[in-house]
Assembly symmetry: C2
Homo-oligomer: 348 residues x 2
Amino acid sequence: MTQISAYAAQKIKDRMQPFPIERRAVGKTDVRIDVEYCGVCHTDLHFVNNDWGMTEYPVVPGHEIVGRVTETGEEVEKFKVGDLAAVGVMVDSCGECAHCRNDLQQYCKQGFTATYNSPTDDPGGFTYGGYSKSIVTGEPFVLRVPETLETSATAPLLCAGITTYSPLRHWEVSEGMKVGIAGLGGLGHMGVKFAHAMGAHTVMITTSESKAEDARKLGADDVLLSTDEDAMAKEAGEFDFILNTIPVNHRVDPYLELLKLDGTMCVVGAIEPLDQVNAAQLLFGRRRMAGSIIGGIKETQRMLDFCAEKNIVSEIELIRMDQINEAFDRLAGSQVKYRFVIDMSSLD
Amino acid sequence: MTQISAYAAQKIKDRMQPFPIERRAVGKTDVRIDVEYCGVCHTDLHFVNNDWGMTEYPVVPGHEIVGRVTETGEEVEKFKVGDLAAVGVMVDSCGECAHCRNDLQQYCKQGFTATYNSPTDDPGGFTYGGYSKSIVTGEPFVLRVPETLETSATAPLLCAGITTYSPLRHWEVSEGMKVGIAGLGGLGHMGVKFAHAMGAHTVMITTSESKAEDARKLGADDVLLSTDEDAMAKEAGEFDFILNTIPVNHRVDPYLELLKLDGTMCVVGAIEPLDQVNAAQLLFGRRRMAGSIIGGIKETQRMLDFCAEKNIVSEIELIRMDQINEAFDRLAGSQVKYRFVIDMSSLD
């Protein structure tokens, strides 16, 4: 189990105290949102721990942000005070490259501006995330949140939701397809809900018998135990698409073996070197292994609207801000069903 | 450098002597071809050495076979005595599965019958390949060879040719695309010729400065040295498609990094576990890594016709049958430009 370093723990404690951040004024095209809820993503823990060696302390994590608009710049058109709004993983991008022009800001050639721990174009500017009372963001990166959904449970849609929705849409998951979701965590449980809602025969692929019943409740039509070699052999060549949400290095060969001719496994969990990718699994079956990160802003809005239509939210455990260290510990130990969300009214 | 085992060497020597194979009679739908030329594929060496633990000695390798039809069964319709014909990697498949019905016999769900070292439906039947005076094969797996091409140099088209042609077609390589060919050997040199003939801006990606000039002669518009980190960094995100013909385990990350958004690298060389597949290279750019083997029979015929239209053959070094051990040694040491072909008139 990953332990938060003493240094990081101290930084989180520091974070609980006011520290001297220059707050961004609401510019002409900006929206201020008073944060009501913020999801706790595994990425937050990586940044708190500086696992990727790129954290600039003090860091304020949080990129699954939902709240009410409390102020709008004079040129803001689509939001007014009182609207339920959200901010996800990105707050800006170059807007000019081919990818940005195609609503794929997540692949901006200049690199998008992340919601926290990211320099901005303002002199000395730097982003701080949603573990906060409020956030000021440019209108183009603000999403509209359906009022019909349980607000606290919509927060994780902004990262865990779009990260799974986007590849399922990109690879055109639909009725008549057999789709596997590997790994049942924050991402995986959203994958199951979305694949099921898109009409696919949805199979939870998990190492753990104990997760089978939960997976079925979430919408899985079937459960395949990756530890059961006979069951895995029987399902070889049967899957049109597999969404691999496993967040750590693992052998991908057994999953590739499940794919049909021309089938794709898309990795969204692990951002690291993967052991044992056997080219034979790709060659014999013309299979593909791909990757995907979050989704563009327009697609994120479509995902939120789809959630409203299908009544989809995340399964969450609501915590107070002062429970964050305990939550990080449990997150590192995969002991959460399936996403912590911080009630920001607890931050006073 | 791989050495041929003493056992395998002895077996090859044995092979040079007559050994008691029951020769297949020409059935109603069979074609007998007197072999004129047979290419030497790296797979032949793997089988001779029993590298994959599946060789049944005595083995007669050879699946790049070109010759004249000398006998046809009474129901054979498309071939007559004297026709120039070819046999590639496959001689049969189930014919009934979804893949066979879609002319993708190479992915037959029952497994295709290989041209050598493969059991057949005949009682006690077993296949022996093209290092031989003649071969008898069912008409559906016999190809027509254009008379306009240099016959000896067409032999490698049956494996090295179709293995590279098929993925280039499947991923719709065409004018306006930037295509990389990684590795310049038997497969790679055909990849360069085909990608160029399909109109793509074709870039040879090689570790070796010495191959640059050769690659340009073969049709490469550009050469990228994979050992030049600055050049590789400059080309990051620039390639629509990469055909990876490198025949051994290698780090694929630097090649994935070259792909554009949604770009694919197709592996056709290495059939083994690959080190260092970094999921980050796939995620940031929604890139894909795929695999492909040979091609279906209809597609192989299309490839031969395309070669006639574009005047494409393999670059070969013609050898006598009694030079095969030396050829295997040089093949193992990558000392061939670019394919050995055996002149079968030397086998008497």
